[in-house]
């Protein structure tokens, strides 16, 4: 018995005795240093030695939680042991029950959550602490409305030795162990954290129903039999917590807390929020996906329209036989943006068109190179034919023969084989055979305009080589009927010019002039074509065309300074009595002197002699 006003250890002043329980007497005191009220609890335990008690108090001193009172000290005074703990202001749950306070579900859930939190803290503490005496009297509702779990007098620390119990709130296994201990029989039942879960369940059951359950009359009536007004979910949680078998209860306070938190998921308002969240997220995601698809579609359309524009430009260059075909074609092929729209067929077409351009300009190596790329992308008789013809024209006869074998194996009885054999004959100067092969082929082909064009072209070349210009022109014209190209017009014009030169026949010069003029109008005429145009006009003696031809030649000089163009310009200037003639002659001489011997050999001796004569006339000095 401690007297009021007594000061222990110069720190704790006894104010009054405020109660006594099964486990000891309780005094209200004042902490003189901290200047706060405290509780001194005298322990009655006689079974434990001081050292063991001190160890337990040390564990309690190590517990710090918002819903636990702080244990400050352990004192030994006059042979009695006291623990010094926080004084918690408020009423315990028992007070609320006894005074028949109505506790709302919200209040109950809040306290239940706090109890679960504090139990989870105790159970996961090292060493584990089992409160083992959870009951309404040990749960204080503080002035803040929060709970505070008190009275660790019979708490268990890593032991199954039951120090005491509260009959109506203790779990079956705790009760069994206590009985065994009382009778001195060793217990085989393990008491763990689920004992606190049981006591918590029973405590809440009591609060909800105001009915004190008894373990002796287990199970108590279900909560649903009472008119409590609490939700089914909450009732289910409490019923589960107070299951007889530990395995049927929540296995931890955390699990129980989770179950409490999950309760709100059943609430209509919460469900409404979740549905709104899902729907709004779904709408936003769909909006974003739609936007991404539209951006992709828009960019694809941009790429497609840009590609179509460039491709149509390319097709236009191809139709004119422009020298820019190669550059434009490579630009399209190398543009990485066009990967999605440029399929193998289109790539092959571009390579083929570039190959055609090189072939028409007698650059057979590059023609074969591009035809080969085309063939690797798209295998067809025509692509094989053109590649092989480029090989033949490039004097790679063995490679061409290999290709012919491939065509024979892939396309049996193909007319292309005869066509290529005819081309080989032409290349190897076996013109008669070439003529015979192409003639028989032309007879066998009816509507195959592609091969008819090529067959007539080879026939024309072969006949021209046999000096049968008239027949050659007929063959070329037949080819032109199948397909008009810059190449065929150029070939016809050259053949007409050749015929006219041989026979000095002015009508044929006019024909040649018309052919080259048509070539210039419809296609991109080469420098040679312009020279031939001017030459045919001059040789035809068509004065009305001189100025036109002179202008064409001047346009050519603006593009590149070609000596042959200047020679032709000098001649036309002389014929039109142009006062620029002297200047053109001086420029021609200057250009001629800068040429290599090989380049000089391309200039016809007749033209050169005529130019030198004009130079002497106009410049009054000899050409050196």
């Amino acid at each position: 018995m401690l007297n009021n006003g007594l000061i222990i250890d110069n720190i704790y002043q006894i104010i009054s005795e405020i109660g006594s329980g099964g486990m000891g007497v309780i005094y209200l005191g004042y902490h003189l240093r901290l200047r706060k009220y405290i509780v001194l609890k005298k322990l009655k335990d006689s079974r434990k030695d001081i050292r063991q008690l001190r160890n337990e108090v040390d564990i309690l001193k190590g517990l710090h939680h918002s819903y636990l009172p702080q244990v400050y000290d352990f004192i030994n005074y006059n042979g009695s042991v006291y623990t010094v703990i926080d004084y918690i202001e408020g009423y315990d749950l028992k007070y609320y029950i006894d005074n028949n306070y109505q506790i709302t579900e919200g209040q109950l859930i809040k306290w239940l959550r706090q109890l679960c939190e504090v139990l989870d803290y105790l159970h996961s503490h090292n060493p584990q602490v089992l409160h083992s005496d959870i009951k309404p009297a040990n749960i204080i509702i503080t002035t803040n409305g929060d709970i505070c779990l008190i009275d660790f007098g019979i708490s268990l620390y890593n032991t199954n030795v039951i120090m005491g119990l509260s009959m109506n709130y203790s779990s079956p296994e705790q009760l069994y162990n206590y009985d065994c201990e009382m009778q001195g029989i060793p217990s085989t039942v393990n008491v763990d954290s689920r004992t606190d879960i049981f006591s918590l369940g029973v405590t809440l059951y009591h609060v909800m129903t105001r009915y004190t359950p008894s373990i002796k009359n287990y199970p108590p009536p279900p909560i649903s039999e009472f008119d409590t007004g609490y939700s089914e979910q909450l009732q289910d949680i409490i019923q589960k917590a107070m299951s007889y078998q530990p395995a049927d209860r929540y296995q931890s306070a955390r699990q129980m807390l989770k179950a409490v938190d999950n309760m709100k998921k059943q609430d209509a308002r919460y469900k409404g929020y979740v549905i709104v969240q899902i729907l709004s997220s779904l709408f936003c995601v769909m909006l974003i996906i739609g936007g991404v698809l539209m951006v992709y579609d828009g960019m694809s359309k941009t790429v497609t329209s840009s590609f179509q524009k460039e491709y149509s430009e390319f097709v236009s260059l191809v139709s004119k036989g422009s020298p820019e075909i190669g550059e434009k074609g490579r630009e399209i092929l190398n543009n990485s943006d066009y990967r999605s729209v440029l399929d193998d067929d289109k790539k092959a077409d571009i390579f083929h068109a570039i190959g055609d351009y090189y072939y028409d300009n007698e650059d057979y190596y590059n023609a074969a190179y591009n035809y080969s790329d085309c063939l690797s992308l798209k295998k067809s008789e025509i692509n094989y034919r053109d590649y092989t013809m480029a090989l033949i024209s490039d004097n790679r006869i063995d490679e061409a023969k290999n290709e012919i074998q491939k065509i024979q194996s892939e396309y049996s009885s193909s007319p292309v084989v005869s066509l290529l054999n005819a081309d080989i004959c032409y290349k190897t100067k076996d013109y008669k055979n070439a003529v015979s092969l192409t003639k028989s082929l032309i007879q066998s082909l009816s509507n195959d305009s592609e091969n008819l064009y090529t067959a007539n072209y080879i026939l024309g070349k072969s006949l021209s080589a046999l000096n049968q210009s008239d027949k050659a022109i007929e063959a070329y014209e037949a080819a032109r009927q199948q397909k008009e190209t810059a190449l065929i017009l150029r070939t016809i014009g050259s053949e007409q010019l050749k015929t006219a030169e041989q026979a000095d026949y002015s009508q044929e010069y006019k024909n040649a002039y018309n052919t080259f003029k048509l070539l210039d109008e419809k296609y991109c005429a080469l420098t040679d074509d312009i020279i031939n145009l001017a030459q045919s006009a001059m040789l035809a003696g068509d004065n009305s065309q001189y100025d036109f031809c002179k202008n064409k030649l001047l346009d050519e000089t603006a593009k590149n300074e070609d000596c042959r163009v200047y020679i032709m310009l000098c001649m036309l200037s002389d014929a039109t009595s142009d006062n620029q003639t002297e200047g053109y002659l001086k420029k021609t001489r200057e250009l001629y002197n800068s040429l290599s011997q090989q380049e000089k050999s391309y200039i016809s001796s007749e033209s050169l002699a005529k130019t030198k004569e004009l130079y002497r006339q106009y410049c009054g000095q000899e050409w050196e």
């Binding site: 579900e105 859930i109 959550r113 769909m286 909006l287 974003i288 991404v292 828009g298």
Partner: protein
């Protein structure tokens, strides 16, 4: 950049902004709801 691309970018921007705003509002509502649920009635 054509009109489809511009519309697509506008849709993506609108989607992101709407998503952010809706999440913000919903979080506030749910937080308020949680507070109400946790607090229950005044127990002080």
């Amino acid at each position: 950049m054509n009109s489809t691309t511009i519309l697509g970018i506008a849709m993506i921007s609108a989607g992101i902004i709407l998503f952010a705003v809706s999440q913000l509002l919903l979080r506030r509502w749910i937080k308020k709801y949680n507070e109400e649920w946790m607090e229950g009635a005044d127990t002080k």
